[in-house]
């Protein structure tokens, strides 16, 4: 239904354009149910039904962008979007010339609809809550349809629609030790959910052991896939984006300008082959299915938007305007999951990390915290959970000469973020074994 609505709106907008005017339109929205759980009880619950339309308007080498809420009432929306085009038309006359404007040129078309099997909103609580009783279960249930569309004045048109759910949760012991898990998918299966929760509850047992407080210092460390996903998220912030390298605010500048390398075991790609996220960007441009970014520790490609390509005389690989990773995949290695503790020997096992930030972006140094199931390991055996520790280390160390091994299986870590609406993306990555990792506080 929303696809039809978008088609009518976009056709009317394109038809209203005057000579020399160009436009790219992006549509997005969700019909979602949210249930917030604290200690296996419901704290807040509700539904969100919203959509908006984004405009990227170009005339006379001036560019102005906007977005407006879409009500679903066709008459109102038609009037609102045409008024918005008039507002953009007027504003464009007041702006300075933009030398890096890229005209919409792609007339590519695509449509993808993933039908799911979701819980009925009135039955969700009865399906979800009983399995979590008897344990301090805290988290968020998100479920529903997400849709995204794109159209432009060159004739391009794309539609993507999917139904998904996720239960992102923490299990917490009386001494505040935690295990993190996310049950996500598009086809609900009650038995699978209950088994998944049971399995994560069983992992909580070890967290009841008395936690150890370890001293700051460098430790042999294993970081599990979820923690690696947090590290990889930093590559979207002053990392693999070409504009940030050109403009001097970038942690990988040393790789571009000074010949620095990471470990030959480290491989990172933008890879859309799993179909979780749409390949088209806000301008309707379709990215290659796979772009190798760091290969055997060498920076061989960056994410380049068409605007950046025009400014710096490069070839676009149709990244989004922010040049962040939309579907990151890290290459696997040869460390069998069953051998992780044995290979670690004595050191720390970190399941998750928390609140990462660049402590020195140019130096590639990242600080953050350990969180959830993090253990002290001796001679390949888990001894006890550790008190949370702060780390502060350069990726040129821990993804460089200190990267000893990479596990052989990459896990899919869904992005359950909901700041601008429910996210679709995921980070696919293995775990990493480090010779040393700096814990500082």
């Amino acid at each position: 239904m929303m696809e039809k609505h978008f088609n009518i709106l976009s056709k009317s907008i394109v038809k209203s354009l005057k000579d020399g005017e160009h436009i790219s339109l992006s549509f997005g929205g969700e019909n979602s149910q949210y249930i917030r759980v604290n200690n296996a009880k419901i704290r807040q619950t509700g539904l969100v039904d919203e959509s908006d339309l984004g405009f990227d308007f170009i005339h006379n080498n001036r560019r102005v962008t906007s977005s407006i809420s879409i009500s679903g009432n066709l008459d109102d929306d038609l009037s609102n979007v045409l008024n918005e085009v008039n507002r953009l038309r007027d504003e464009a006359t007041q702006l300075p010339e933009d030398p890096y404007i890229v005209m919409p040129e792609s007339d590519a078309k695509s449509a993808e609809k993933n039908e799911g099997k979701l819980l009925d909103i009135a039955k969700a609580a009865d399906a979800l809550l009983p399995a979590m009783q008897g344990v301090d279960f805290t988290g968020i249930w998100s479920s529903g349809k997400i849709f995204a569309g794109s159209a432009n004045s060159a004739g391009g048109k794309h539609w993507f629609e999917t139904k998904t759910f996720s239960m992102d949760y923490s299990l917490i012991t009386p001494s505040d030790k935690m295990v993190k898990a996310t049950f996500a998918g598009s086809k609900w299966n009650q038995a699978d959910y209950e088994n998944y929760v049971k399995d994560s509850v069983s992992k909580l047992e070890i967290m009841n052991r008395k936690p150890l407080k370890i001293k700051p210092g460098e430790y042999r460390t294993f970081i599990a896939s979820a923690g690696v996903a947090d590290i990889l998220s930093m590559f979207s912030w002053g990392g693999v984006g070409e504009a940030s390298i050109q403009q001097g605010e970038n942690a990988l500048g040393k790789m571009r300008h000074e010949g620095a390398t990471l470990s030959p075991l480290f491989n990172l790609s933008e890879d859309f082959s799993d179909g979780l996220v749409p390949r088209f960007n806000g301008m309707g441009e379709i990215a290659p299915e796979k772009i190798e970014l760091i290969k055997n520790g060498q920076l061989i490609n960056t994410l380049i938007s068409s605007r950046t390509a025009k400014e710096y005389g490069l070839e676009s690989n149709f990244a989004g305007e922010g040049e962040g990773l939309r579907s990151p995949v890290m290459g696997t290695g040869d460390l069998d999951e069953n051998d992780v503790l044995k290979s670690l020997g004595t050191g720390v096992y970190l399941s998750n990390l928390h609140y990462l930030n660049w402590s020195d972006m140019i130096g590639g140094r990242i600080t953050g915290m350990t969180r959830y199931a993090c253990f002290w390991v001796e001679s390949g055996e888990i001894v006890a959970p550790i008190e949370n520790m702060r780390f502060d280390d350069s990726l040129y160390n821990f993804l460089g000469e200190n990267l000893e091994a990479v596990t052989s299986v990459a896990l899919v870590n869904p992005d359950v973020g909901t700041y601008g609406g429910r996210e679709l993306s995921a980070t696919t990555c293995p775990g990493i074994l480090l010779k040393a990792f700096a814990l500082t506080l």
Partner: protein
Amino acid sequence: MNLQSLLAKIDVSADWVGLRYVRENTTFRLVRDKKPEANDRESKEGIMVEVLVDGQFAYYGTTKMDAKSVQAAAERAVVIAKATSQYSIYSFTDKARPVAKGSYQSPFQKELMSPKDLNNLLVKATERLKVSDKIVTTNAMARIVETDSHYVSSNGSDVEQSFLMVSADYAVVAQDGSVTQKRTDGGLLAKSYQTGMEVFDEASILKRCEKIGNEAIELLTAEECPTGSTNLVLAPDQMMLQIHESVGHPLEIDRILGDERNYAGSSFVKLGDFGKLQYGSKLMNITFDPTVEGEFASYAFDDGGDKAKKEFIIKDGILERGLGGAESRERSGLKGVANFRASSFNRAPIDRMANLNLEAGESGFNDIISSVEKGVYMTSNRSWSIDDYRNKFQFGCEYGKLIENGKLTKTVKNPNYRSITNPFWNSLKMVGNTDTFEVYGTPFCGKGEPNQTIRVGHASPTCLFENIEVFGGA
């Protein structure tokens, strides 16, 4: 839109119904190196329908605002509330939505500035920022938010609030060989206020831009910040972040009650700590105050209808009161504040810190510096990270100065410090007077499931802390 009329037409079986309409226009303009990089406006408009049934609140946030859609939204919210009430964490009554009537308008002198005039000013700012060929990137940005909200409820609330908020920043990246440094106007968008376009005073902005450019050049040849335990003097534009992360978040009662444990985290503070915990030294006085004129998160009522007023949160170092709205106060039995706030029509209100300020003390800036034999002065936040219980933090600043024998001496680059919240605030040795007091804010405080970004304001004088671990860059 006649919200009272919409409310009157809703026909559902509920103990309470509320409507909260929000319309928000966010205009963002960015000029990089004299060229327009962004001229954008995001307009959001919608309604949150909220019902209370069998002790459980349920909401429906929607962009569909006709009477038929609002009725359908209320019916769906009732279905949800009924289906979930047997699992409620707390059985609420409409006491959690106190009756409120009133209005609010942000203070401003000049409401509008044309796209042309603002772009021209930002272009001039980037010209002035480029004080040397070693300045490789210049940015000038302005973010203007106009928000109208209207809240009505079946128990008689009717509150209309209009906000005009402006954030601006001017920044450079300087490079010399392998050395790169960034300087901004007090930290990214830290100059965030409820104000009008009068903040875009050209003479003041161009003067600041020249200083920003010159300080970035100065940092290129500066020594690294030394490593060790020393006296630390923090400027108000860093105190903002310090208060936000290590006082505001740990005192949000919903965190203490465990709501945020799967996302933003919990708190080292326990329910039993209120009235007892020596949070900081006796010089520490923290107030929650949404009534400060022009501070970024001022308002007359929160989104649950609680009337805003100034409250002491920490007095003479002792923790007095938590940051919790009506729902958290009922659940915890603690005293709280009017801070039950939502980011928009599509999110339910939760406990947010709004304006949280450190009250001025008695020491002048020169008194503070001259009292220090050896130490580091740091200004303008650039890096922030703290654990999920709000204990172990590490913060970095853009610009530092050594303090030697009571005087500010050499500039140092990459100044960082780390500590633990309680011992840190108990090491507060001097608090600056009103001459050192400055007001800041940020539009980007993230919290909640589903996630919400909201504005907060923080004001502080310059402060001295003793025996803090400081260090430099990679």
